[in-house]
Point group: none
Chain length 210, copies 2
Amino acid sequence: MQPLDISSYLGRLQDYYAREKIIPSTTQLSMLWNVKARSWTHQIVQRLKEENFLENAPGSRLRPGPRFFERTVGPGVRAGRPQQTADVQPELLRIDDYLIEKPSQTILFPVKGDSMIDLGILEGDMVIIERSSSASPGEVVLAIVDNEFTLKVLARDKEGYYLEARNEARSKEYPPIRPQQKLEIYGFYVGLFRKAQVPAPRLHHPGLDR
Amino acid sequence: MQPLDISSYLGRLQDYYAREKIIPSTTQLSMLWNVKARSWTHQIVQRLKEENFLENAPGSRLRPGPRFFERTVGPGVRAGRPQQTADVQPELLRIDDYLIEKPSQTILFPVKGDSMIDLGILEGDMVIIERSSSASPGEVVLAIVDNEFTLKVLARDKEGYYLEARNEARSKEYPPIRPQQKLEIYGFYVGLFRKAQVPAPRLHHPGLDR
DNA sequence: TATTATAGAGAACGAATGTTCTGAATTCAA
DNA sequence: TTGAATTCAGAACATTCGTTCTCTATAATA
């Protein structure tokens, strides 16, 4: 029921917001969208508000609405190609919602070292930690050992709780950690995210290069 | 050199921003700060800009500056921990900002298989793909081979472009893929995120359990 | 006490803002 | 071909905007 194709306007605005972190005024939106009349820009904004991509902040300014940060999810990377013709409603996902359940108790930590490489946790990754002073064996936890944060798997045997690394290839370098007195748990691992490091730009590649 | 104690103003503004996700106008800032004169509000804003807590967005509006999201870690939490007093704890909602530069050209794909495990890309991860029909050798790309999406490393030799897996342990199962005719690139990998699978809940663990 | 910098108020102004109204051009089904 | 949406443009308006200027309090300093 939206005869006006709003998606191209929304896309431009989303890209703008990613750069500038602000929703501009109607006047500037007109320039961004190449719309001559502010009244028409206003109209488009109304549609975007109806669809919850935008909403009014105090002072009648605009801010991103609940759906503004939705990202489309494609099919599994080994499944078939997406059906172009069939108008399948694309699945949408908000990364933040997906990853974080309790924002107030969630903290991000950059990963150092390769002790958890077998779980696909690499140096430079950001792990998402939910604060908790307790955990169960088998969970990945952020513990405080010797005044340092360390991410390990919580384990337990007859002697009590201890911490295990997950790096089979270099297991000798990461022996189990048994706390001298008490084992302090800072939180448990709920997820991670990673920004690909840009490969060194290789110029002069005609053809397939970007 | 700042005789004016700016921190209380900043604090009110930070709280406001956490609620409303927007930096208000001078007029509304005056109300928020209980300042009668917009000129004085303007002055305070200038100081905040000098200290990089605020900055000007296009259209002479305000947006958070680089230091706006600094949070002071409470002394109780610190207690000799390896952390500075002031740490930049990014807003959790900004994971999306961190990962995605061009929202309109970005699509998420769930990963199936373990062909890229050496790069820490596991089954069940969500990879972030930026659309592009070209790429450079060495980049991780989402290509279309035999009508299927596949995530591989783009490589090139004298015979042309081909795709490589990254799974040393099972390299025989993932031989290089040489396209029969043309190699279609769908986009390139810019990052990923992962939700930890919850371990089977083990009940009745007194003490350390949650 | 006299001086001076800081903290705050008030008025004023042009520019930009959000919004509304009217009216064309275009599309599209009846 | 008629008529109705839809899409866009232009003008208009009251309000708010950021900014600047001048003018008091207050506090600290000499």
